[in-house]
Amino acid sequence: MTTRIDRRQFLMGTSALVAAGAAGVMPAWAQGADLRLIFWGGQARADRTYGVTDLYTAANGGAVEGEFLAWNDYWPKLATQTAGGNAPDIIQMDYRYIVEYAKRNAIAPLDEFVGGVLKLDDFDADQLEGGKVDGKLYGISLGANSVATLVNTTAFEEAGVEAPTNAWTYDDLMTMGEAFNSANIRGGMKAISDSSYNEPSLDNWLRQRGKALYTADGKLGFEEQDAVEWYQLWAKLREAGVCVSPDDQALDTGPLESTMLVQGKAALMPSNSNQLVGYQALVQDKLNMVGYPRIAAGVGGGHYRKPSMFFSVGGSSANKEAATNFVSYFVNDVEAGKILGVERGIPCSAAVRDAVSPTLDEANQIALNFVANLGDLLGPLPPPPPAAAGEVDLSLIRTLGQEVGFGAKTPEQAGKDLVTGAAEILSRA
């Protein structure tokens, strides 16, 4: 990152020259406006992002100073900077946090720039809607994605088990798991990771039952009985050895490298469509993706096209218009789109999407096709989760799933604790 800044400074010097030369034709706000950009992600994302900032600077003048961190480090840093009145101009934002930041004016509404510097003519309507809080536009989606089950197709071939398709159900999962156990490949590889404490898996399962994790007014969208059945379902799968053991699953602490799929302990794992690229880089086996399992054959509606992440403009930014101009460039410019690929999800601008799709490699193609062909799996976009959703996930969903797994709680007890605990957290926040 240090070398990056050095290179930035060098670029700032050169771009100032370019800007000076072009100053005559540039709007006033673009002249010498240095923007700060912060995002989470790995090196691959950073390389693509900086490719676009360089392109932007060359075309528009005004340097864009980038900084990136891992997800876990990103939010404390952003919150601290925001509290100190020192937030960057352009902030990568997540669906989980956008309401919290918008309500506190830590990010700015962009409605005044729409049609001006912010061009959204061929932008996907559902993705635009996802960036709104209380009717105002606070975030521009950088790509659409969906939850997806990653499939280690090589392992399935080895086990002689037919790999799942988008039609698969939880019953199929049970059958596959048993077949996997009798095949006993790679020292007892299981069919799937323990997804009982994977929040998106629970959400998807609830949506198929016509419920949701959260309602539009930020309350719990399901009953105790739902939660109990969820834990019972996974207790059954665990007992049959369809999913990995709880002490193996507990080794997954978040990083891609620690997941059951990469560790070779499970052939299936719930994830997101844009992450196939990242996972494929870590395993030798060939990966594919299908939807999450259906609760019964033909039942759909669990999935949705989620804005994978947004760019928002800092509420205290002195260069809101320039920052918005950069965001518009980032999502609309075809050359920028070619650099970015689908690493942040499927581009939301139709023109960019058309230009990008022929240039993609296989892993990216799989992701693009999956999101484009969700069919009846697709349901409506749920409202942004309440601010305390992160705490419900960390304090309850993950812990309770483990407690059932290790036999410290019955599914009935865990279901009850989830509902009462979540209600308490939601009312507190």
Binding site: T80, D247, A250, S258, G390, T399, Q402, A408
Partner: protein, 315 residues
Amino acid sequence: MTARSLESGAPARERAASPSLWARIWQNDAPGYLFLLPWLIGFFGLTIGPIISSLYLSFTDFDLLTDPNWVGASNYVRMFTNDPKFLASMRVTMVFVIFSVPLKLAFALAVAMLLNRGMRGLPLYRALFYLPSLLGASVAIAILWRQIFAREGLVNDFLSIFGIVGPSWISTPQYSLWTIIILAVWQFGSPMIIFLAGLRQIPQDMYEAASLDGASKWRQFVKITLPLLTPVVFFNAIIQTIEAFKSFTPAFIISGGTGNPINSTLFYTLYLYQEAFGFFRMGYASALAWVLLALVGLFTAFSFLTSKYWVHYDD
């Protein structure tokens, strides 16, 4: 230095009652304070200032992004009446302190006594044994620990020699905290160095006299070494207890910041961090921090109060 010069000089100055009193103080002490200035600025700006503001924030609902609102003692009330995670994390930290500190001190003393026998290459061994203390709190070691205590890790490889099939120690709730306690004990270097220095202070003629009187090695240890070493034991115990209460990094890295499995490694400090930077409840986290401070203060005060019954300062 300042205090002493004021004490001794005060009566004389009063008698003189000269208008030059302040001038003299200025002359005598100003250069000292001037030299201290960089440290003082840091101390007041970066230590005392934040500590006081955190005391204020502990009575507010500060969430980092909006201005704090005064909520009275409700953070503290909630902590003690309606927060199972507070109790759970307190339990984890207490177990950690109660087991890791005595084990670490015992281990440090044992190694120090071994090294105190005037062996060849002592500086080398001393450095080697001190090494874990330099590395122990680091991220790399915490990651290494995950590997050692995993299902296919070093520990289970060793156990398999005896036909024992061990679990994945690091991710099984009953054992995960113990792997972190072992990690703490392994970092015995700094108390060991201090013990070693303490052992060197014990006059050899005492041992010679005891041997002549026919005292066994064990009796010599109990009757000479330990009593004369108590000031050092006391010092080490206090420092290590405070360190143990503050322990954060190993649990954070080993559990990926979650305190899992099933909150078995949810150290108090980790819970505090989650509340502060995970859920943005800075007010509540500040209150947690002050409770920890009070607790450490109580422990230390208790140690000092009881010290006169077991620490021997006959110099």
